[in-house]
């Protein structure tokens, strides 16, 4: 499915996630939290129901030409260690120089997430030894981050029904700027580790969400919405498969009315589907553990996508003391707004929050509302349009080139185009049928030159991508509607004459049988007749 991350079709492993009416293995835990935000009934303990609590930390790579504190380029899949400056390799004596673009991207993101932007934020060093962290510390914003106290609204389908959506809000605790680490590649057979520092020092925005979610589906929907916002802003390309968006999920469960349980952190989840799975697995694992009298350890876990479960991470065992310290080589990051902007200052040297605010593009929520208002389509259709990269543009192009009403166009876009693309795992951009071709086709339909049955046939031909226009296909396959009224009347008469039983049934009042006759006419004309006209003719002839 294309739309706002759907939850659970097939991903639910156990009962607690089941929909209303689903039956638990134990016959007890039947309510999912999901879109209703409900709790999970307790098991045999007989206590109050279980409440899962999910919070997220999302690392988004900033889309910028160069790294956060150095001039090296940022590029995915470049040859190992080809994008490493002296600073990135932590050569002694090198100093960080803050990249203005990264600051602007973070401010933009903060504004889009309704945060208040700190006009003075600070950088800190977070220390730990790891092969892909060459300096032995990461520069981050622990004490005073660049943006705080925001919100993110996201929608998801209620009870997995396409028709009903609910909107939820998660609070954003903070957004901090920090450095990405390099990559360690472990060669187990030769027992060596190779380090690629291309990613070391790339700017990240860490978006910290409050634990306001309660299941994998919500977490997934929130991250999908965040992803769309980032992509709309251009502050991050947010392609999860390329590691530009990575999610850590904090999960705990407790009984309603009791304090939060011990949480675990599932680290580095790199797909939205896996996020939903990982969170749900973890919730269920914790409930089961607790119900069996076990305890939950405050630990870091990883999601094994092949096994579909989370496992403790061995190299993150033991408590780390990060020995935070102010970064002495960077002065406080000062941002200005229209009021505080000093006169005679070089605009290249400062970041003006208001200036960025005025230039924010329409966010996905606004774009959806505009689509609904402008084209009269359903809200859930607007979700699909916006969530699918390039689909809105495709839709609008088609609408602009046809006389067909947008409400009708959307059906072709969602039912025909999108399902075909999904079936063949194609993106909108890769569609063999361009918006122009589809518009041509819909115009033929709209001008009643072909029937909708014929239109589907033409579309099927168009998918082959042989470069023929819809009109050519129509001509080639003789799919035009019969314009000869007399001929059509004759065919109708033939059908009536040949179907005595049906005619009698119709005359006896069973009007549904009329459809069968219409179908027969269609078959005889090979779909080239307009069913509306046929119906009128038949009715006339049967004097209905």
């Amino acid at each position: 499915m294309a739309a706002a991350v759907r939850g659970c079709g097939g991903v639910w492993r156990r009962e607690w996630q089941c929909r209303v009416g689903g039956l638990s293995r134990r016959g007890q835990r039947t309510l999912g939290c999901n879109a209703r935000g409900g709790a999970v009934p307790a098991g045999k303990s007989g206590l109050a129901p279980w409440v899962p609590v999910v919070g997220l930390e999302v690392h988004a790579q900033i889309s910028s030409n160069s790294k956060l504190f150095s001039g090296s380029q940022v590029q995915f899949a470049a040859p190992p260690n080809s994008l490493v400056s002296f600073f990135d390799a932590s050569l002694p004596g090198t100093l960080p120089v803050l990249n203005r673009r990264c600051v602007e991207a973070a401010v933009m993101t903060g504004l889009a997430l309704n945060c208040s932007i700190n006009k003075k934020s600070l950088f800190d060093r977070k220390h730990y030894f790891y092969a892909d962290l060459p300096a032995g510390y990461q520069i981050t914003q622990q004490r005073v981050p660049i943006a705080v106290n925001g919100t993110l609204s996201y929608s998801l389908y209620k009870d997995n029904k396409m028709s009903q959506m609910v909107t939820k809000t998660v609070r954003i605790k903070q957004i901090q700027l920090e450095q990405d680490s390099g990559k360690s590649l472990h060669d187990d057979t030769r027992s060596q580790t190779l380090v690629d520092l291309n990613r070391a020092g790339v700017g990240l925005m860490e978006v910290v969400m409050e634990p306001d979610m309660c299941c994998g589906e919500e977490a997934a929907a929130a991250v999908r919405e965040l992803q769309l916002i980032l992509q709309t802003l251009g502050s991050s390309q947010a392609v999860m498969a390329e590691g530009q968006l990575r999610v850590d999920a904090n999960v705990s469960v407790h009984h309603r009315g009791e304090p939060y349980g011990v949480r675990t952190e599932v680290k580095n989840i790199n797909s939205i589907r896996f996020l939903a799975k990982a969170v749900d697995y973890e919730i269920e694992r914790q409930i089961e553990e607790l119900e069996n009298g076990g305890t939950i350890l405050n630990e870091t876990r990883a999601f094994d996508s092949k096994l579909g479960c989370t496992v403790p991470m061995r190299d993150k065992e033991g408590k780390q003391d990060y020995r935070f310290m102010p970064e002495p080589n960077l002065p406080p990051l000062i941002l200005y707004d229209a009021k505080s902007l000093p006169a005679n200052i070089n605009h290249q040297q400062v970041v003006n929050i208001d200036w960025i605010h005025e230039r924010l593009p329409d966010l996905p929520s606004v774009r959806r509302a505009k689509l609904v208002e402008l084209y009269g389509i359903l809200p859930e259709h607007s979700f699909t349009l916006v969530n699918e990269d390039g689909l809105t543009e495709f839709f609008e192009n088609v609408v602009n080139q046809t006389q067909m009403k947008p409400k009708k166009v959307i059906g072709w876009i969602l039912k025909d185009l999108l399902s075909y693309l999904k079936q063949h795992s194609l993106t909108v951009k890769e569609s063999p049928v361009s918006s122009v071709l589809l518009a041509d086709l819909l115009n033929l339909l709209e001008k009643k030159e072909i029937s909708s049955t014929a239109a589907k046939q033409v579309l099927a031909e168009l998918w082959k991508g042989e470069g023929k226009s819809p009109l050519e296909i129509v001509k080639e396959k003789k799919l035009e509607l019969m314009q000869d009224q007399k001929e059509l009347e004759q065919i109708c008469q033939e059908v009536i004459d040949g179907q005595e039983n049906e005619v009698m049934a119709i005359k006896a009042g069973n009007l549904k049988v009329l459809n069968k006759l219409i179908g027969l006419v269609q078959r005889k004309t090979q779909g080239r007749s307009n069913p509306v006209v046929v119906k009128q003719l038949l009715e006339k002839k049967l004097s209905l």
């Binding site: 050569l91 002694p92 090198t94 803050l98 300096a135 020995r323 080589n329």
Partner: protein, 517 residues
């Protein structure tokens, strides 16, 4: 003056360079240099000579031989920090200050010795051995020390240079170069300058780029300038100061180089004598010198008043906490992976780290890393690091208040005594020594102020002692003007060193002092 000689053709850059190189060789026992870059120096001198011949020298510094402390990165020349960790390390880039010197046509003779990673106050704790104070071999010292201790052989009487920029101080003092770069975190430029009888300037934090200086304490480090006279220091400062896009902590404004007046006037100045610098361990000799200097100013018409910097006594402890914390952090990068020493231990990455760092760092560095990490632990951070930062603020405010009250310059001793013999010095460990020796100098680093050591006199033993002037932030011109005036008054004697006299026949004999400006 050498610069004028170069312009007038009295001496060529190559000759000058060769003389310095041979002097370096004959004073090798001082252990002032870790690396002598003979080849590149001669090549640079040749280039300079061409420029002079075509009448287009790059500036005052063109052809002038200089030395750089071995904790500044120099492309193509080893940068060791006097540590096993970086032995053999050749940096791919020049520190901004090194680049600026080279851009001015200066001839880089080599890299000078120091305490490992600049952690120390004696220049005795580097892997290449201690630096010996040239004054140990001066006629002035020999005459006095031999008469006193007949029993001990001359060899064991040599005195330390102070540190950690002891190599640079010794190099300037022994005439092997005309100016040298040091670094100053808690007094590392001023202390050896005092002990070696040279001028040692610690500029305001942020005035000179730290890019390429291997850090000790980022929030206090500044490149220091060691020269034989105040005018030279002003020239070098003018060439090095100013914004560097590679160091975000440098000032944004452009720096305007200045010349010092020939006849400085101090009559309108207000000189402060901070009473807290009358430390219990201060030698009577230095105390006497200090009051004599105050009288000099008084007699010249300056207003001299006693002032108070009440938080001075907490300064050294505060310095220790902040210093070790940053050291712990800065040293984290030396893990044997990207550069530097790597142990053969290959059981696991962690064991390799541990062995590398054990083998690469000396006890002093390791000790500071350990205590720094202790102070940064979550449970200690509030009690140590945060407190120390608050104290730092109080100390900075002490200075601010005094300057706001109308004081222009503070006058203090630089060291507690004249340099002590090496065998005496090593009776105490590095930590104790640093705590003693930095006592009069590190508060200035906590406050980021400019300060300068000016050689003032010889002690009874015939060894140099200096005094420190502390100025307002970014008021180097005023500070150096006062220093120059003082320099003129005290007429500090020239070192009488056999090796120097043997080697330097014409050039230095023609000139009364061996300055280049």
């Amino acid at each position: 003056q050498v610069s004028a000689a170069l312009r007038e053709g009295g001496v060529s850059p190559t000759e000058l360079c060769q003389r310095c190189l041979s002097l370096i060789k004959s004073t090798k026992f001082l252990n002032a240099y870790i690396t002598v870059a003979e080849e590149t120096a001669l090549k640079q001198a040749e280039e300079s000579e061409k420029r002079y011949r075509s009448g287009q020298p790059l500036g005052v510094l063109d052809g002038i031989p200089v030395a750089v402390k071995d904790n500044f990165n120099t492309a193509g020349i080893e940068t060791t920090c006097a540590s096993n960790m970086l032995k053999g390390y050749i940096s791919p880039y020049n520190a901004t200050v090194v680049q600026k010197l080279l851009d001015q046509g200066a001839v880089l003779l080599g890299k000078t010795n120091l305490d490992e990673f600049a952690m120390g106050s004696g220049s005795t704790d580097g892997v290449f051995g201690p630096v010996r104070n040239p004054w140990s071999y001066s006629r002035q010292y020999k005459e006095k020390s031999v008469s006193k201790s007949h029993s001990e052989d001359e060899e064991s009487n040599w005195v330390i240079t102070g540190g950690s920029s002891g190599g640079s101080a010794a190099a300037v003092s022994s005439f092997t170069c005309f100016a040298a770069l040091g670094s100053d975190t808690g007094g590392s430029t001023r202390n050896p300058a005092a002990h070696c009888g040279v001028v040692g300037l610690k500029p305001t934090y942020g005035l000179i780029s730290r890019h390429g200086l291997i850090p000790l304490v980022n929030s206090m480090d500044v490149p220091g300038i060691l020269t034989r006279c105040v005018d030279d220091a002003a020239v070098v400062l003018g060439l090095l100061a100013g914004h560097d896009p590679k160091d975000s902590t440098t000032i944004q404004d452009d720096f305007k180089p200045f010349e010092l007046p020939n006849l400085p006037d101090v009559s309108k100045l207000s000189i402060g004598i901070p009473k807290e610098y009358h430390a219990p361990a201060l030698s009577s000799e230095i105390l006497a010198l200090w009051s004599k200097a105050a009288d000099l100013f008084k007699n010249a018409g300056a207003k001299v008043t006693e002032v108070s910097l009440p938080h001075t006594c907490y300064s050294i402890v505060c310095y220790h906490v902040l210093c070790t914390a940053e050291v712990a952090s800065n040293m984290a990068r030396f893990d044997g992976l990207e550069y530097g020493h790597r142990s053969d231990m290959n059981k696991s990455t962690e064991s390799m780290y541990a062995a590398t760092r054990r083998e690469g760092f000396n006890d002093v560095v390791r000790g500071r890393i350990l205590s720094g990490n202790y102070f940064l632990l979550k449970q200690n951070y509030e009690n140590y690091f945060i407190k120390a930062q608050k104290v730092r603020r109080l100390i900075a405010n002490d200075f601010l208040k005094v300057f706001r009250s109308g004081i222009d310059i503070l006058l203090t001793p630089t060291t507690l005594s004249d340099p002590v013999p090496y065998r005496e010095f090593i009776k105490e460990d590095n930590r104790t020594r640093s705590a003693q020796d930095d006592i009069l100098t590190q508060a200035v680093n906590l406050a980021g102020l400019p300060a300068i050591n000016v050689p003032a006199a010889l002690s009874e033993r015939g060894l140099p002692i200096g005094l420190q002037f502390i100025g307002r932030s970014f008021q180097e011109k005023q500070l150096l003007t006062v220093a120059k005036w003082f320099e003129k008054q005290v007429k500090f004697p020239i070192i009488q060193l056999e090796e120097v006299q043997r080697h330097v026949q014409d050039v230095f004999q023609h000139q009364k002092s061996a300055s280049f400006s």
